[in-house]
Amino acid sequence: MLTCRALWKKLAPLARASSTVCRQNVRRAGRTPLCVPVAHMSTGPVGGGGDNLKYALLVGAAFVGGLTYAVITVKGDQERHRERMAAIASRKQKSASQIHTEPLGELSPAAAPDAEAAAPTADSKPSLPSHAPYLLIGGGTASFAAARSIRARDPGAKVLIITDEPDLPYMRPPLSKELWFSDDPSVTETLRFKQWNGKERSIYFQPPSFYIDTEELRSAENGGVAVLTGRKVVHMDVRGNKVKLDDDMEISYDKCLIATGGVPRNLQVIERAGEEVMKRTTVFRKIDDFKSLDKVSRNTQSITIIGGGFLGSELACALGRRSTESGLEVIQMFPEKGNMGKVLPEYLSNWTTEKVKKEGVKVIREAVVKSVSYKDDKLEIKLKDGRVVRTDHIVAAVGLEPNVDLAKSAGLEVDSDFGGYRVNAELQARSNIWVAGDAACFYDIRLGRRRVEHHDHAVVSGRLAGENMTGANKPYWHQSMFWSDLGPDVGYEAIGIVDSSLPTVGVFAKATAKDTPKAATEESGTGIRSESETEETATSAVAPAAPAPVVEHRDEYGKGVIFYLREKVVVGIILWNVFNRMPIARKIIKDGEEHADLNEVAKLFNIHED
């Protein structure tokens, strides 16, 4: 391109000039086939043949001179251009060879600092590595867990995380739980929360000093984890082992993890309802969503949450708590018969709904939204059965759409039953490509093919992917768990397949005041239960809570354990207000045995003890 342009620029005036000269020459030589009127120049030479010859020679010389000049200039330009391209190419080559001299695996020696990288480039953009040995697409929980796993197993590993969010990796559960219960008015800025034992922590997995700059990744002696924020991977070339970003930047990799999570779904009726409605609707997943919902909750009178699952119910309870101070009206509506209707058996779902109501939430059951419109400065939600709800703001918590944008360009299989990228038991999609977290539809040796959207699964699968990316070849085996707290009185931990359509057997005892999530965390000293099962900093021993007076709950389902069965085998367990027994539950699922009497199995949990 450069050549042509330069060439043309240089040649054009000369071409024009020479063509005129040429034309004039031709005319003078009388070779034109057409009858062109001879231009008689007023000052032109009029003379004999001798004069003509001299003139012709002069013009000829000028023409040749011009042509020579043109050729020389163009050649010079070409030369300069070639030199420049060579310089850029050599720079790239030098840095590429720098990285490739480091062998992968456990025996990588430290690389000499790359002096070339220090040289400022002509571009104003920060220099990014053109190659990352470990490339992690997505900057969430699974990605961070994988990065940690890789760094632990491959000394000196260089890991590059690319995320389209502006934030470093953070944990999601507090966004709909602990952060709402914080007393600190600046919590939306600090994103820190105090745990029950007084210990504070940030939602970010690690502070910024843990990570290295993307510029340093190439030369870091002991490797490190670099995070590239605000960039999206738009294309994946599996054959060439490289990806392309949204700014056309290309990065090649040796091993790649796709941990792109998902995008919250919205209701179609809302998406079609126009801008005024969309402006007043939030979907909830990221830090920004938390900040904006916090702001909204202080500035409106009525919020409606559509969705009765984990997220919807947790947000409803969190906002319901606020409503007692601020007079905010909190409504929750869903198509099921009760909160967590797809997870808990009906009797428990009903009981939970009553608890949610006690948190100050107006619960509207069996509500299917027919249309939403903006009228008289309020949102009007019309339900299929005729009921109408008027509110100021809507939060849609109706599920997650797994992000499989790269499937097409990468040629990766997408699962039609569960969504997400289809991977094997070792979380591998194709050679050198693994998938973990919400976006992975994987084969669970025990429970069959599934896709799990929970925090602990992201941690477990991220770790496993990291292990397998460093040569472990282990299948998904350690069952992940999940938990939910609905207010201070109702908390449960669960593991396996917990689907309310399965037959269940529940074994219950009466609860005392000691059997609450609050008491559980105080006792085990693990702060928030986001930590008790997953890795994190240790906590110092906490003095046990003073014995509380025994309070009999009016309801029957104080605490217990619920088994979910598939053909007489326990595939899922919920520990209802019974804590720190997850290893036993995990064991029962792992065994996969048929138990004749589940009451006997329930004995293993000691539900009457603390």
Binding site: R148, R151, F210, G506, E535, H595, N599
Partner: protein, 150 residues
């Protein structure tokens, strides 16, 4: 007395403390401690350190990961009478590194045990505080880690 009710496909059993006093006759399959699929604790069956143990937190993967690994490996394999006494250099370089990242490795000077030259100095104590994590998913109990000594 326990009683039972059935709501459709869901069975509900209520039990008193006495009902559950008799030991369970439910059979569980014995665990294989060398099962390669299982999550391992801090020390692998072959005696090596499992750097990926959740109990280590981010110690082995952070900016001071390699220093930590060297120091801890030296300590782990130390055969000296006073374990880790030959590892002072590694622990020192680890501590130096950690001091460069105060918000990653909080300098808890008050909490650590009085630094004793025998057990490898304060970083070992710091390490043991971090290792005594109440992690129900790790197989090895923190006490099995000899760094908890001293």
């Amino acid at each position: 007395m326990s009683y039972c009710k059935q709501e459709g496909k869901d069975r509900i059993i209520f039990v008193t403390k006495e009902d559950h006093e008799t030991p369970s006759n439910a059979e569980l399959i014995a665990d294989d401690p060398d099962d390669p699929y299982e999550e391992q604790g801090l020390i692998l069956p072959n005696g090596e350190i499992n750097w990926n143990c959740p109990c280590l937190g981010g110690m082995a993967s952070g900016p001071c990961g390699s220093q930590f690994k060297e120091a801890f490996s030296c300590f782990h394999y130390s055969q000296e009478e006073v374990k880790g006494s030959e590892c002072l250099e590694q622990f020192r370089s680890m501590q130096e590194c950690m001091q460069r990242y105060p918000d990653l490795y909080p300098q808890e000077e008050d909490k650590e045990n009085p630094p004793s030259a025998e057990s490898g100095g304060s970083p070992a104590a710091d390490g043991s505080v971090l290792l005594s994590e109440n992690d129900s998913s790790s197989v090895a109990s923190p006490d099995s880690v000899s760094a908890a000594d001293g």
